[in-house]
């Protein structure tokens, strides 16, 4: 519901450029060989879309559905199940901070505050005015012994403390 209230595809007026063309299509085709059904390649196909687009629009879901012989509604049901697929555009740097109990007792909430401040993202889930940062809290990142783990894009950074945040953010400037 909330998703459909958001802009679905900002390029509604422009012609749609397919994700699966050229090299990306080849990548998808090699993925198809791994699964006995086309549907099996859905999660990896969605990863490819997100890699290419930064997020997965409704129009992209329609393309994935067509390529894999599924319906767009089915694809959307799957996309919305998995929290790592973005259903709307996010900042250039997407920051996920673990705040589940083991990290929480080690000060994860302070790390979140520090990140919001250093990036200028202001609030969780919002993108900073310069479009560079989106910070979200996530549930367990599976590195509880290295509290607080932070995932910036595909970089998994362990043992982040509030003091380390400013330098960390600088690295992505």
């Amino acid at each position: 519901m909330s998703a459909s209230a958001r802009p679905t595809h900002d390029a509604a007026t422009e012609p749609y450029q397919p994700v699966f063309a050229g090299k990306v299509l080849e990548e998808l085709q090699s993925l198809l060989g791994r699964y006995p059904t086309k549907q099996g390649a859905l999660l990896p196909a969605l990863w490819l879309v997100q890699r290419q687009r930064g997020w997965i629009s409704d129009r992209d879901m329609t393309e994935v559905a067509a390529v894999l012989g599924l319906t767009p509604a089915y694809v959307k049901g799957v996309v919305t199940f998995y929290t790592m697929y973005h259903q709307h555009p996010v900042g250039q740097n997407f920051v996920q901070v673990c705040t589940t109990s083991p990290c929480n007792i080690c000060g994860a909430e302070d790390v979140v505050r520090a990140l919001l401040q250093a990036t200028g993202a202001k609030e969780l889930g919002a993108t900073s005015p310069d479009g560079r940062w989106t910070v979200i809290e996530v549930e367990c990142l599976g590195a509880c012994g290295f509290a607080t783990p932070v995932l910036i894009n595909d970089d998994f950074i362990e043992s982040v403390s509030p003091e380390k945040v400013p330098d960390l953010v600088k690295r992505y400037r």
């Binding site: 990896p44 894999l68 996530v138 595909d154």
Partner: protein
């Protein structure tokens, strides 16, 4: 940072022997360290013989349930009529648990070798290693290792594929994981049918945890008797296990211990005890889904399947979360409930609605607006959420709530009575 720590004398390094040794990540390096010898041996054995060896070793599933691995393998059809699959559960997501990540980061070939052996034992030609989406680094290392081993022709005709998850705790549940591989929502399936009859893509499937499979090669090379002998307490719990320790200890990290090792010694000797001036308050020994232990129970608990049960909890995944006296148990239990509410797949009513309601009640208590009846309500709600759903996510949410109220009731009552300053805004 933090890990790999220096081996402690009381550890038994089998799985973690090469943690911290970057060369062990390479195919050549692994072979040099005796790797793929077990796989070579396995190829000379009949599938049933491999299964028998694993049965004899007493190896039990390290993902949480502790089901005997050899027995699980033996459920697969003997006369093969359809494709068989192996699923490798590398969707490590249980709060407090980070051992599989370490295995994949440092000894990816141990997992691949164990995978190949298991495939032979269950007559599978395809295996999917389901790695949670957030594990970017382990995925890259596994991909590299798989490419090297495949290039070296290590697995013959066997096909091993990596499958990346996309952010869903519940995909660690075996049937949800299979649905996820099939390109579906990660909904757990009703059982029966069980995976050995109707698993991924509807075919006979076995699913094993990363640590379980990594333990298989040393069992083959050293013999089941060697493995079985590693048992400090109950003979039904054999071998070594990685314990991930996190929270309020001086030295968090993964520690490999022989089954039956005292939890107290793990925390106070290997992990260096609490921070200065702090005392142990509580411990969740098997990942967030198992009941919380208070201090006395923690100090009396032996780390094996039976030892944990004896203290009213479970060994689970071996994710040990430690709370010192600074921890607000009400707040932490709320965080755990919120985790489960976030991760509920939305199928079963008790889970979908119950985890969210539980969280709301806990949040209200923390906001200073709890009612005297809230604790009974939480307990009754937890009872409704236990043993009644497709999978155990709902039970997992109830476990810390029930044990928390039982053991730390005073903290809840203080919030409700207004004796403690609210920490949340209503």
């Amino acid at each position: 940072m933090g890990y790999p720590h220096k081996p402690h004398a009381k550890e038994t390094k089998v799985l973690s022997k090469y943690f911290g040794d970057p060369e062990a990540r390479t195919y050549k390096g692994w072979v040099k360290r005796g790797g793929y010898e077990a796989w070579r041996q396995a190829q000379t054995l009949a599938p049933a013989a491999i299964t028998d060896l694993v049965k004899e070793s007493g190896l039990r599933g390290r993902g949480g349930a502790g089901f005997p691995t050899g027995l699980k393998w033996s459920f697969m059809p003997k006369d093969k009529k359809k494709p068989h699959y192996l699923c490798v559960n590398a969707d490590e997501s249980e709060p407090g648990t980070f051992k599989d990540r370490e295995i994949m980061r440092w000894t990816p070939h141990a997992l691949l070798e164990g995978t190949a052996i298991a495939m032979r034992a269950i007559q599978a030609e395809v295996a999917y290693v389901y790695i949670r989406g957030e594990f970017t680094e382990p995925y890259a290392i596994m991909a590299q290792a798989l490419a090297e081993a495949t290039a070296a022709g290590a697995f013959g005709d066997l096909k091993i594929h990596l499958h990346r998850g996309a952010g869903a705790y519940i995909c660690g549940e075996e049937t949800a994981l299979m649905n996820s591989i099939e390109g579906k929502r990660g909904n757990p399936r009703i059982k029966p049918p069980f995976p050995a009859a109707f698993g991924v893509f509807g075919m006979p499937t076995t699913i094993n945890n990363v640590e379980t499979l990594a333990a298989v090669p040393p069992i083959l090379t050293n013999g089941p008797a060697w493995y079985k002998k590693m048992s400090l307490s109950n003979p039904k719990s054999t071998g070594t296990k990685l314990f991930s320790v996190c929270g309020h200890v001086q030295k968090p990290g993964n520690y490999e211990l022989t089954m039956g090792f005292p939890l107290k010694d793990l925390l106070f000797e290997l992990c260096g005890g609490m921070r200065p001036g702090r005392t142990l308050k509580a411990c969740i020994p098997g990942g967030s889904s198992v009941p919380i232990l208070d201090r006395a129970e923690t100090e009396a608990c032996l780390l094996d399947y039976e030892g944990a049960v004896e203290r009213g909890t479970m060994l689970g995944s071996g994710g040990v979360i430690v709370f010192d006296d600074s921890a607000d148990m009400v707040y932490q239990i709320m965080r755990l409930a919120r985790f489960y509410a976030h991760e509920s797949c939305a199928q079963c009513t008790q889970c979908r609605e119950g985890t969210a309601w539980t969280t709301k009640i806990l949040e209200r208590i923390l906001a200073g607006q709890g009612k005297a009846t809230d604790l009974d309500l939480l307990l009754d709600l937890s009872e409704n959420m236990t043993g009644k759903t497709i999978c155990v996510l709902s039970d997992s949410c109830a476990a810390p709530v029930v044990s928390g109220i039982k053991k730390f009731r005073g903290e809840f009552e203080d919030y409700i009575a207004g004796k403690r300053k609210p920490v949340l805004v209503a």
